[in-house]
């Protein structure tokens, strides 16, 4: 799937450039894309290091365990294949809490941590497990309560009501996440059926 999308983006782009005569821009676009990729990854070092450091403290202080206990029923329902007491469940629930609080910066390293723990209990190492797919579904739909960045941008561009977006975001995100969870369940069942036959 990722091979297909990757190829499609490249060939679609180069093909369009051939027809529209934008070929001169392609070489530059390739270099720019690569440069932005590296810049983004480097920019992430700061954020990931900061939150991994803070989360290490939170974890040793027992906060993650406390949050996990609070969200455990949700976790057990969403991730039936993950043992409720495993470090994987702890990381998943911590990632969920960070998403809920709208601290996306913290959610990513915690999500990566959860992914690592899930990989440890994944029987087929190059293939995503059910729980990994659920983790992605929940993260890509990302329940957000306070969209900090968007509020900041709105304020910057002279909005009279910069926080008006909070209410609409909560409604939209609940719809999006609800659909993501339903689809994840549906596709999980479909893939089970396909493997069984």
């Amino acid at each position: 799937m990722i091979d297909f999308i990757w190829l499609l983006l490249f060939l679609g782009g180069i093909g369009t450039a051939m027809v529209t005569g934008h070929m001169d821009k392609i070489a530059q676009a390739i270099l720019d894309g690569a440069k932005h990729g590296v810049e983004l990854a480097f920019a992430l070092i700061a954020i990931i290091a900061l939150w991994m450091g803070l989360m290490q403290i939170a974890e040793r202080a027992g906060m993650v365990r406390w949050l996990s206990r609070l969200l455990r029923p949700v976790g057990r329902w969403l991730y039936p294949s993950v043992p409720p007491d495993s470090p994987a469940m702890g990381a998943i629930l911590a990632n969920m809490s960070a998403n809920l609080l709208g601290i996306g910066n913290a959610a990513t390293p915690l999500g990566l941590q959860a992914m690592k723990e899930l990989q440890a209990i994944n029987p087929i190492k190059d293939r995503a497990s059910d729980a990994m797919c659920t983790l992605l579904a929940v993260n890509t739909a990302s329940i957000t309560i306070i969209p900090t960045t968007v509020i900041a941008v709105r304020l910057q561009y002279g909005s009279q009501h910069p926080t008006e977006v909070v209410g609409t975001t909560i409604v939209a995100t609940v719809i999006g996440t609800g659909v993501a969870i339903v689809l994840d369940r549906l596709f999980r069942k479909l893939s089970k059926r396909k493997e069984a036959s």
């Binding site: 934008h22 821009k25 990854a41 803070l54 990566l112 190492k125 293939r127 797919c133 993260n139 939209a172």
Partner: protein
């Protein structure tokens, strides 16, 4: 209500950090060393991401520079109009799953247009879309890439379909909470 949320959005991050530090201090954890110990992992994780992010960014960059993105916007336009999505918002909705920085750039671009300030229908809708979903392709690349998963199964399909649901959800949300803008 407005001011409560406004205050909350600036206070939450510092408060979370303070809470973590206080909890650590109460439990008598060596705060500084524990932080440094955890932060060490940040470098390795980020560096491991570089090849994945470069691969995806190059492809997206080629796709945009060629004008292919604009063509797709033209195709999608009639469908978007049916959902009451202004055509200026369409590229943002399409770019959102692929690039966070890209869609944020388009959002600010929209805010600067004379007829579409942040408080306009298009502005509020685009803000809601930007806020209510995440960069699906990036998250999948990064999350799976970090542990070497190559077979994604249905994750990408579910991710993209729920992005679509969030776009429609944003329209519903603006319609519900700000019917006067419609």
């Amino acid at each position: 209500m407005q001011s409560v949320i406004e205050v909350a959005s600036t206070w939450i991050l510092p408060l979370v950090i303070a809470g973590i530090l206080v909890a650590g201090a109460v439990r008598r954890i060596p705060l500084y060393n524990t932080f440094v110990d955890g932060a060490k992992g940040g470098f390795g994780t980020s560096v491991r991401l570089i090849p994945h992010v470069v691969a995806m960014m190059v492809a997206v960059s080629v796709f945009r520079a060629s004008g292919a993105m604009d063509l797709i916007v033209n195709w999608v336009h009639p469908v978007a109009a049916w959902f009451h999505i202004p055509s200026q918002v369409v590229p943002m909705a399409l770019l959102r799953p692929i690039s966070n920085a890209g869609s944020l750039a388009l959002l600010t671009d929209l805010f600067q247009q004379p007829h579409h300030g942040p408080d306009s229908f298009a502005g509020l809708l685009a803000s809601t879309m930007q806020a209510s979903t995440d960069t699906t392709l990036y998250i999948i690349t990064v999350y799976f890439g970090s542990v070497g998963i190559e077979r994604f199964r249905y994750a990408l399909t579910v991710g993209l379909l729920s992005d679509l649901a969030s776009v429609v959800g944003s329209v519903v949300a603006v319609w519900l909470l700000h019917p006067s803008l419609f």
